[in-house]
Symmetry: C2
Subunit: 432 residues, 2 copies
């Protein structure tokens, strides 16, 4: 155990009334302070930040592009030809869905993608003014909705899977106020994955109630229970886009391609949504098609495109993946291996996996998992573990109604696993 007084004073210095509301950044502050004062390194699992090097295909393409002079040249608002074409191929090769190049648009990370979608939705209707978030989820997306001026609804899908999930969603849609349903798949933080029948149900509801689906594929292909890494061959990354044209997929360069630093992602629209006409957009923006407003008004205003060379980097990685020359999931399997080891350590020391299965099938090993410890709330558990040199985040901030922690495996080094085991054993011994 670490020095009690040092940890206590680091925690107290946050001035939080309720520790379960501690944000990632606040946990970071505490861990940094204690590390500085004690010299002991935490096993750090609070930040969802990728920890791997990108494949050379991306950086080499980017360097070549810079050498050829792209730094001087405004990228087209709807993206370079290369990234548009390769995104379209990638979606076909790995999801088995059609999204024409004209409907594929690069953004400054999926963060900008979601912001642009929300901003366009905000102008598209005065009645449908709410985003339904299927929680647990990424809290910043709710802040985005708030800043844009959309309302948020959400529920924790812990107790709603399968048919119950669909009927739960429908309860919200019946209000007529839901503009979009948003979820991430695989799910941050729980690593649950929606099944094909759930995705089909969501698609049917979207069509029935005329709302759009925003599918956040930040962790594309990283449900390692299925190997989707072979282009144009089943199995594919599951997606609602198989079942409705009323949707847009957000594909990030940050996680599966370890390219977070360059802020590059893509929006891949199904053509139906891209061309969908909204009267309110005509009156506000002079044009009616959702995709056109998003590109020529919203993205124009947000940043007039995203770094030219980074577009070409992601395009090169997509291309190599589609050509079968680059297995883009090979490197990130490291997260799977690590999650597997860490789950063993947690469960051997009195913890349970909280979001444990998809309709009976155990969840896969990947970037995140969730844990609980008997008799402690998420806030209490996090506070306690900080005394043992272990940091993560309480689930409360993710919209989960369960008591536990989100564990991110990306920053944990192999040589720290022994530490983790010893620290959790000591914690467990002191809490039985």
């Amino acid at each position: 155990m670490l020095d009690k007084q040092i940890v206590t004073s680091a925690i107290d210095s946050l001035g939080l009334k309720d520790f379960s509301k501690a944000t990632i950044r606040e946990i970071v502050v505490v861990a940094n302070k204690v590390e500085a004062q004690t010299g002991v390194k935490y096993v750090r699992m609070e930040m969802g930040v990728p920890g791997l090097k990108p494949d050379a295909i991306g950086t080499e393409a980017e360097i070549k592009a810079l050498q050829s002079g792209v730094a001087a040249i405004y990228p087209a608002l709807d993206g370079c030809k290369e990234i548009k074409e390769q995104t379209s191929r990638f979606v076909k090769a790995f999801i088995d869905v059609d999204s024409p190049a004209s409907c594929c648009v690069p953004t400054s990370g999926s963060m900008q993608g979601a912001y642009a979608l929300f901003t366009t939705l905000k102008m598209a209707s005065d009645v449908k003014d709410t985003v339904l978030f299927i929680d647990p989820g990424f809290p910043v997306q709710k802040t985005q909705a708030q800043i844009v001026g959309l309302k948020s609804e959400s529920f924790d899908m812990f107790n709603y899977r399968g048919k119950n999930l669909i009927s739960k969603i429908e309860e919200y849609l019946k209000s007529g106020r839901i503009a979009a349903i948003l979820y991430s798949n695989p799910n941050n933080p729980s690593w649950m994955c929606l099944t094909d029948s759930e995705l089909q149900g969501i698609a049917q509801l979207a069509d029935k109630y005329d709302c759009i689906v925003i599918e956040d594929l930040a962790y594309f292909g990283m449900d390692f229970r299925k190997d989707i890494s072979h282009p144009y061959e089943a199995p594919f990354q599951p997606s609602v886009a198989k079942y409705t044209g009323n949707c847009v997929m957000m594909i990030s360069g940050s996680k599966a391609f370890s390219y977070a630093g360059q802020r590059i992602g893509v929006l891949a629209f199904r053509e139906e949504l891209f061309n969908k006409r909204y009267d309110s957009l005509v009156s506000k923006m002079g044009i009616g098609a959702f995709g056109s407003v998003l590109i020529s008004r919203v993205l124009y205003c947000l940043s007039s495109g995203t770094a030219h060379s980074a577009q070409l980097a992601l395009a090169a990685m997509f291309k190599a993946a589609c050509d079968g020359q680059y297995n883009f999931l090979n490197d990130v399997h490291e997260y799977e291996r690590r999650a597997h080891e860490m789950k063993k350590i947690f469960t051997a020391n009195g913890f349970s996996i909280l979001y444990a299965d998809d309709l009976g099938t155990p969840i896969g090993d990947g970037f995140y998992f969730t844990v609980a410890y008997p008799g402690l709330t998420g806030g209490e558990l996090m506070r306690e573990l900080l005394f043992y040199g272990v940091s993560a985040i309480p689930l409360d901030t993710t919209g989960s109604r369960q008591q536990g922690l989100r564990v991110c495996v990306s920053f944990v080094k192999n040589e720290q696993l022994t530490d983790l085991n010893e620290r959790l054993a000591e914690f467990n011994k002191n809490h039985q």
Copy 2:
């Protein structure tokens, strides 16, 4: 003259009732169509797009950064240490103003900078809900305000310079509803420059009426009447920041540094505004300081930072400029030379320079200038010139109330100047 029928049908295909409202993109469409059908190249002056190669300092720094692995690493939300420190130095060296590194923030171009400022202002007050644009200006900034939900006011400063400018601005401020004053200096499209006494007057009004000044320095140092390119030596780039702490400067990598493709710019705040506390921000965002909300809420949501390597490219160029190892304005003097030649050609063929002087001093030669032709409105003039293989944009779209065109010199090649002269001569002959 070009084939009348081809040009007429290209213009008619736009379906515009009022040609003076033609946007840049619409002029581009007409010119492209006619070029494709006639094989004749237009002298193209409609797009405000830089046409020079960047200095190798930027791209080399960026390539080195990519080789060192920054593509994998999220940049800090408030920017990398290097760009923060070098921006602060740059502002001191070339404006002679203090903006601490903590108050300097990179953005995905000044486009994102303005959007972030507007978004923060929108949440900062319910009363001050309007941006005052000193026109003529960059029309997209008004679209930004509209999308964010701020109101816009504007006037054409053609007839308001010196004391008249200050009293005209004060008329608007008296309403109590102006959150910010925005202008570009040098001015896009007129290339007028506010004088020090005008900037001082604006600063006093900002303090008196508690509104902020957003100074768009997109064409930093490009008023070539003064050579401001020597670090820490007068003369400096004129700025309102000399006279008020209630302001923020937007410095773009696109024009002076020919780095438009990478979408990189910086916001340099005076410390007073950066730390200024707004009650409305506390209640909406949980923190009150303008700069903190802009970074940790707004920029977080907009894109979570901007491409890591591009930050290091601009930082390297700023550093070399501050160290006196790189005269960043040397290359862009090419625009001055070209504007000088083109103005001679226009005025020799019956045109006049429309926005001609700053309180009696003729404007400098640079990226843009404006022209008028007797007896024709801006829309009529633009329509007519398209028949002669010359494209530009009518001033109406810039908020100017004058009848004329904006001419951008960046895409005109030396070998086209003879064409320009012959075409304008023919036009002039046919219109006398």
